[in-house]
Symmetry: C2
Subunit: 328 residues, 2 copies
């Protein structure tokens, strides 16, 4: 199945801009069932890799020794909105192992949800590293190092055992040799992975399927993420709304630069989407259109989700003058 997932920005009846979209759908053996553009496009798998980056912490038993539960697991896999609940949980995770904000190597940035930004502004406080959307992942990495007795200093570097374990998991689930995963640095400072879209989709297909088969660690991760969509993203965020709407049938994870990874466990499929130019404005319409083409979503789309398919462009006068929407 070939899809056209391009997204356009219109102004009146004119197509003002166009975003090309690459996507691939695979089964659990990596067979390509459909897609758009180039399934072998290599790009960077950033926040989408979080479920695999936390996996060794759970497998090792360290996670249970910390007495962490589904909330902590969801936040470790999150690109969270920097809302008070996210920040408090990340702080508590660090406190479990006697660490604090200053031990995180991720930089501070404004909360990525409106609610988070508004509440922080009202507090009069500046953003901290805990507000970084990756702070849950970093807290889990630090806790892994602490529990295993590895140094916490340098936990973000490629030679540190925490990053080595993460790379092993990414390679294993994506069915690549470790040497074939290209390495670079993420926005938050840890290792990020260059791999083809096809392998991103495969990793999610296998994660969803393993969870459905009842494999302990995958099941715990998928359960945590799909039952705690707010912790994985935040108020009015796409993954949160999508997973709430899908009621456990879809695992969805946003990544930076227009990359998205999704598992549909009951169908045994994984999806990877890449907006060629990295524009986030095109990402949600493309992902939704693909899910619609695969008959995974209710038709018509429930309103909160539908608002991500067609987004009005509002000018400085508050007038709707166009929209961001699928080209087809």
């Amino acid at each position: 199945m070939r899809f056209d997932l391009d997204v356009v920005a219109t102004r009146g009846d004119i197509e003002e801009s166009r975003h090309r979209v690459h996507a691939v759908v695979t089964d659990t053996r990596g067979t390509v069932l459909g897609g758009a553009g180039d399934p072998d496009l290599v790009t960077v798998w950033r926040s989408c890799a979080k479920p695999f980056q936390v996996m060794s912490l759970v497998e090792s038993g360290c996670f249970d020794r910390l007495r962490w539960g589904d909330d902590e697991l969801a936040l470790a896999c999150a690109s969270h909105g920097g809302e008070p609940e996210h920040v408090a949980l990340a702080r508590a995770m660090l406190a479990t192992v006697g660490l604090e904000e200053g031990d995180l190597v991720c930089g501070a940035h404004e909360p990525i949800t409106r609610r988070g930004a508004k509440l922080l502004q009202q507090s009069g406080e500046p953003p901290t590293r805990l507000h970084n959307n990756c702070s849950g992942k970093h807290a889990a990495m630090l806790a892994f190092a602490r529990t295993e007795g590895w140094p916490t200093l340098g936990y973000e570097t490629v030679c540190h055992p925490v990053q080595q374990r993460a790379l092993e998991q990414v390679a294993r689930w994506a069915d690549l040799e470790q040497g074939d995963v290209r390495l670079t640095v993420d926005g938050c400072g840890v290792v990020a992975y260059g791999l083809p879209l096809r392998n991103m989709a495969l990793a999610f297909a296998r994660l969803g399927d393993a969870a459905r088969q009842g494999d302990d660690v995958p099941q715990r991760i998928v359960h945590a993420m799909t039952t705690r969509p707010f912790l994985v993203a935040g108020t009015d965020r796409f993954d949160t709304v999508l997973m709430e709407t899908a009621e456990g049938r879809i695992l969805s994870k946003v990544g930076a630069e227009g990359v998205h990874s999704i598992a549909v466990p009951e169908r045994g499929i994984g999806l990877a989407v890449k907006v060629e130019d990295g524009a986030s404005r095109a990402q949600h319409p493309a992902v939704l259109r693909l899910l619609q083409q695969l008959d995974v979503l209710p038709d018509p789309l429930p309103a909160p989700l539908g608002s991500f398919l067609h987004t009005p462009i509002i000018n400085t006068r508050g007038e709707p003058v166009g929209e961001i929407r699928p080209a087809r």
Copy 2:
């Protein structure tokens, strides 16, 4: 001459995202001398049309009756940075005809230069319509209506004589029938124009050539813009730096959604560039690469301009992790 003007965002040695770029170079007869992608791509000509939108005001003699000069003319053609100098001049232009900020129909937005935003924040005042990057154009449109005795109310609508005159000029310079110019609404509320890139380039080629030939109105517009680059854009803005570097040999005007228009009068050519997806981050590297290919710029590029060709991507830790640069 076919060029590859694509722009990439790299992360380490990985190409993370790619922006496709369409461009066309024409002479004053509209002959295509070179380009990239599709020279007939139709998109929206927004702020690049400002020199033509102000033209009838000057031709009619109203401009001289207002006793305006090069500063006012430059600001009328500007997408300015909302800096105190821009705001004061826009306010003064309105005052000439007994109008004020509230008569502008453009909405308020934060100044688009860092300096403008910083100074406004320090003042503790909110942004006003005068800070809108188009306020000079709007002030000129209002002054035109006032001087001609037309109603100022509704000056932004397609049926108003101010917009009719602007459309006539756009069609004439772009060598299109008025009916072939597609109409829509700009970010600031006035009429915007849908036309092929080829015609945008032609209009700039003809404008530059007419100025070089000594035609009064084109010469005044080109002179005002090229001798007042700060008023046309602002501190550290691309058009300002490019026109300062070119010392009068290049007329450059940014538009929204990745559209740029340039005249090189001494070469008798016009350029139009469109980043397909509208990303501003790709616009400057693409324009500079095209100008380099045409041997219009000093080699090597002077430092302030060179910083627009390769822009580092800095992560939340302040580390350079990649760059935005021409693909080739």
